[in-house]
Structure formats: structure tokens, C-alpha cells
């Protein structure tokens, strides 16, 4: 049965799910949706995701929404080693660093990327420097923790690549296009970890979808 992902691929949330599908080697179909036309508010989409958001995954007759839940389902089914499966401790490490991504990294790095890139490109307004400055301070502290961690382990959950690492990619891709990339570059282990992540074939493919602010549109 077909695997379908609904959404606009320039979204770091949609592409977070796409990266998991790519890494797991799943045969999937991306069903493009038009944000400007309000596709996500139509009844057919609300029936898939009552919160009217993207991405949504359909795997046969199973419908999954929330990008990290989609990622977990895809990997659990097709590539469980990326969840640390088989080891209670490895699984816990993956969960823990995925929570860190969601609650420490994403809010700060995502806010900076949103202000610098999405605000001008999609919302037609200047970046809010106060929001950027506040989040730069938060992100600095987060990156210090990451530097310490990545000095001890090759990846966040240990010496194996996991969803915890992959979940960072799409927001970081946008973040690294801002002037604040220097915050990451100041930390040698975080920088090396990022470069290795970005060099993966799946990441390179997904990077091609992340077109906000590049002047290129892959879909309308």
C-alpha cells in the first residue's frame, strides 16, 4: 500500500518527515499542498489532521500527523535502529535528545531562522531584532551543551545516528543560511556534527526542498 506525505516541502516540519522517509528508503509520494490557497483549512485536510497543519502521513489506512510522530512511525516500521531499538538505554538517549531538539533547540534556532528568512520572504516584513537577540542568547547556551555532548559522542544519542540528530536537520539548514551560523561554527564538535549530517545523501536531497528565501519555488 502507498505511503503518502501531504504538505509543502519548503516547510521544515514537512521536510523533517521527508528526511525520515528518505533515510529509511521508503517508497513514498509527496502530495503537494498550497498554503497560500488555504489547502490545509479545507475539510478534506481537516479530516486528516483536525489541527489543520502539515505534514500528514498516510501509510495505508493509518494517518499520522505531527512531524516527530511521523518520523517515529516511519523509522519504527522501516529502520528501527535509528530509534535505538533493541536497547533500553539507546532508546532512552534517542528520546532524550529528541526532546532537547524539540524544547531547547527548535524554539531558539527556529525563531532566528523564522525572523531572518521567513519573515521577509513569506510575511513581507523586516526581522524582529529583539526576538532574534533573545533567541541568540538562548541558543548560545544550548550549543554549549551540544559541544560538550558531541565532544564525547559522535552523535547526540551516542555513537549511532538517530532520529535525534535527523530531527535537527531542516531547521538547522535554514538557520545556517543566516548570519548567525557563526554561533554553530564557533563550536568545533557541533560544526563537525552538522557538516556530517548535511553531507548525507538524504539530507542533500531534502535540502533541495528548503527553498524559503532562496528565490526559487519548487511548488506554488
Amino acid at each position: 500500500m502507498a505511503v503518502k506525505l501531504y504538505g509543502w516541502s519548503r516547510s521544515p516540519f514537512v521536510s523533517r518527515a521527508l528526511l525520515c522517509l528518505e533515510e529509511a528508503g521508503v517508497d513514498y509520494e509527496l502530495v503537494p499542498m498550497n498554503k497560500e490557497a488555504g489547502d490545509h483549512r479545507r475539510p478534506d485536510h481537516i479530516a486528516r489532521n483536525p489541527f489543520g497543519q502539515v505534514p500528514v502521513l498516510e501509510d495505508g489506512d493509518l494517518t499520522v500527523f505531527e512531524s516527530r510522530a511521523i518520523g517515529k512511525h516511519v523509522l519504527r516500521k522501516y529502520k528501527p535502529e535509528l530509534l535505538g531499538a533493541g536497547s533500553l538505554e539507546d532508546t532512552a538517549m534517542v528520546e532524550m535528545w529528541l526532546e532537547v531538539e524539540a524544547h531547547q533547540h527548535h524554539p531558539a534556532a527556529g525563531a532566528i531562522a523564522h525572523e531572518c528568512i521567513a519573515a521577509p520572504a513569506l510575511l513581507g516584513r523586516m526581522p524582529n531584532q529583539a526576538i532574534i537577540d533573545e533567541n541568540v542568547e538562548k541558543l548560545k547556551k544550548v550549543l554549549e551543551v551540544y559541544e560538550t555532548r558531541l565532544s564525547k559522542c559522535r552523535y547526540l544519542a551516542g555513537d549511532f545516528l538517530s532520529l535525534a540528530d535527523l530531527s535537527h536537520f531542516t531547521v538547522m539548514h535554514y538557520f545556517m543560511a543566516t548570519e548567525y551560523a557563526a554561533l554553530v561554527e564557533a563550536h568545533p564538535h557541533v560544526k563537525a556534527w552538522w557538516e556530517e549530517l548535511a553531507a548525507r545523501p538524504a539530507a542533500k536531497k531534502v535540502a533541495g526542498f528548503l527553498t524559503i528565501g532562496s528565490g526559487v519555488t519548487t511548488e506554488k
Binding site: H73, K77, A92, E95, T148, R149
Partner: protein, 216 residues
Amino acid sequence: MSTNVARVLVCLEEVGAEYEVVNIDFQAKEHKSAEHLARNPFGQIPAFQDGDVVLFESRAISKYIIRKYKSAGEAADLLREGDLREAAMVDVWTEVEAHQYNPALSPVVYECLIYPAMRGVPTNQKVVDESLEKLRKVLDVYEARLSKHTYLAGDSVSFADLNHFPFTFYFMATPHASLFDSYPHVKAWWERLVARPSMKKLGATMAAAAAGIKQA
């Protein structure tokens, strides 16, 4: 009591684990001490230790506990990992709690209870009103969901439901508790949850702690 600590305690109680709570003195900034930073480099609570395993982030800790004790009879299947479809539903509604429900509900708890008690500041009614607006929309979705299923991820209780306990418990102590009366299936679900022994026990501890804070 910290809501994130309570999140973990609910799971420990549900699986029947033996555990010890070690108090961290916020007033004395113990959460920023070198000793605590070694457990949680973000200087937050809870942190967790099980032999050599040291964890932070309450949802990650909770899942570790549930997985470790998963053969513990009826306490068991809170994550449904034996079934792809059910496990996905638990993940979805756990994410929903974190990214839709909590962001709408928690500001009301902070403004009505926590900030006045801890910082002596008055309630910001604008924040409360905006949050209640968002919360109504979230509860519309929950009402529809819980009209079809007894619990969020299906017909048995799961980790997704348990996650809602701590902040909702405190919400029920704010002047806005009656909001849930407009959502009969949500209200019934909540009442089923708080009837659970784990939540009765923790609820009593949390209420006592809250009373202690107000008097401090």
C-alpha cells in the same frame, strides 16, 4: 510541585516502581549547581537516575520507565509498542499535548496560579483571554476525538493521556475550570483519568505543595 516532575511521578506510580524523590532547592539555586548540571546540563528538573542510567527531559524519563517496567502486568501497555498503528496514535497525541494543548492551557495556569504565588505579580488577563481562545479550539478537537474513543490514542489509557494530568490538574484550580463543562466528552475523560489511583495519590501531594507555596 513541578508539573514536569509530576509527569514522571504519574508514570512511576502507574507501573508500580519503587522510587525516591530527591528534592532540589530552587530558592537556593540548587538546579544550577555543578552537581545537578552533571545530571541535567540544562539546569532543569526533573533529572533521573536508575543505576548508571542518568536521564533528563520528563517525557524521555517517563518512556524509559514505562519501557523498563512493561512486563509489569496490567500497568503495562502505556506505549503500545507491540502494534505499529497504536504506537503511532500514542506518539501523535503525545505530540499534540506538547505542541497544541499545553501551549494553550499552561499560560492560564502560570498567570492565575504560579506567577501570583511565586512572583507576587497580578494575573495578565490579556494572556489568559488569548490562551482560553486557543484552548477552546483545541478542546473542540479533543471533544470530537473523545466522542469516538474512550481515550486519546484508542480505547485504553496510554502515555498520551497521562501527559495531560499535571497541567490540567492545576488548571482545574484556576477560575477557568468550568471551561471543561462545555466539552462533555473531554470532561468525562478527565474525570476517568483523575479517578486513577496514581492521580489521586499525586493530586493530593500536588494540592498540598500548592497550599504550601501560597503560605510561604
